[in-house]
């Protein structure tokens, strides 16, 4: 149990400080209003933070290998699930099928017919009008 007793408390405070810096960066990143910067600062940094917590706080690097393998496997399976489901759920049309409501909603959004208000018009309503004509 004492295989990671060598760290002093100061080490963890240091890690915590790093995490806060990263947090600040990921917070200001989107303010530049640049898509790719936002993606990197938001999610790239999230991954880094998660890694730091896993290694320094959860000591995953000190657990047996198979634990790391198991955790990685779960993540891989989630990617697999995403890859399998996205072609149907994420797309609004595909080979020989369409989701009229979604397409209509997107069109309405692009055309600015529906604002992104808090509880703005939902796809259903957006399509409801469309169905009329």
């Amino acid at each position: 149990m004492s295989e990671h007793a060598e760290h002093g408390d100061s080490h963890y405070v240091k890690i915590w400080a790093y995490l806060l810096v990263l947090l600040a960066i990921s917070f200001v990143g989107p303010m530049l209003e640049i898509q790719w910067v936002t993606l990197i600062t938001a999610f790239g940094i999230a991954v880094v933070k998660a890694y730091m917590v896993a290694v320094n706080f959860m000591h995953i690097n000190l657990t047996p290998r198979f634990v790391i393998y198991t955790v990685t496997t779960t993540l891989v399976f989630m990617l697999l699930f995403f890859a399998g489901a996205a072609p149907d759920v994420m797309k609004s049309s595909g080979t020989n099928w369409v989701k009229p409501a979604w397409i209509e909603a997107e069109r309405a959004y692009e055309a600015g017919e529906v604002g992104g208000g808090a509880h703005g018009a939902d796809h259903g309503e957006g399509h409801g009008e469309a169905a009329g004509h």
């Binding site: 917070f27 933070k49 706080f57 989630m78 994420m90 208000g117 939902d122």
Partner: protein
């Protein structure tokens, strides 16, 4: 009832049984959150309008909560260190601080949600808000569960008993923290 089985004291895989168990719990939790967040990301990418909905979330509150959780994680790991040194008192006190962090997190969340709900952003407003409340809600349940278990652990730790439990609950708490680290950009700052 009888004493603990000898089985509990064995460690053929070279890792304490309790730590092994908590890692398996985390593995099964990852796929639960993976299911919710995966579905959320699919919809988010599918609907441009969701960016506008997301703009209504308050990043400052997200920031505060992330800060609170990160800090409570620090307390959790310091408690673990104290437990390593056999200082049960200090470990217990740090665990109480961690719980306090969890409680503050929940209070902030309660304030945030009551504000949003009172402004019509309810769970039924549209699918974005459904995912918003579902994902954050499941996470909040884990926070509550973590706090409750932590109080029990602290009780025993105060008497310098079962000190290894401090590490176990700590690992779980860090996992809850990691989940929030991903929820924060997904729900608040990705516009």
């Amino acid at each position: 009832m009888s004493a603990r089985p000898i089985a509990t004291t064995r460690s053929a895989a070279g890792i304490p049984t309790q730590r092994l168990a908590v890692w398996w719990i985390i593995a099964s939790e990852i796929v639960i959150f993976g299911g919710v967040l995966g579905s959320y990301i699919m919809h988010r990418l599918a609907h441009g309008i969701w960016a506008d909905y997301a703009a209504n979330t308050n990043p400052w509150i997200g920031l505060t909560n992330t800060f609170i959780l990160l800090t409570s994680s620090l307390f959790a790991v310091l408690a673990h260190q104290a437990a390593e040194r056999g200082d049960g008192k200090r470990a217990a006190n740090l665990l109480y601080l961690t719980c306090l962090g969890g409680a503050m997190f929940l209070c902030v969340k309660g304030y945030e949600w009551s504000y949003e709900i009172s402004h019509g952003m309810t769970i039924t407003a549209n699918t974005f808000w459904s995912f918003y409340y579902t994902a954050a809600g499941i996470h909040a349940l884990h926070v509550i569960a973590g706090c409750i278990i932590m109080l029990f652990v602290a009780e025993t730790a105060k008497k310098n008993l079962e000190l290894h439990r401090v590490e176990i609950i700590g690992i779980y708490w860090h996992f809850v923290d990691v989940v929030w680290i991903f929820l924060f950009p997904l729900l608040y700052i990705a516009k």
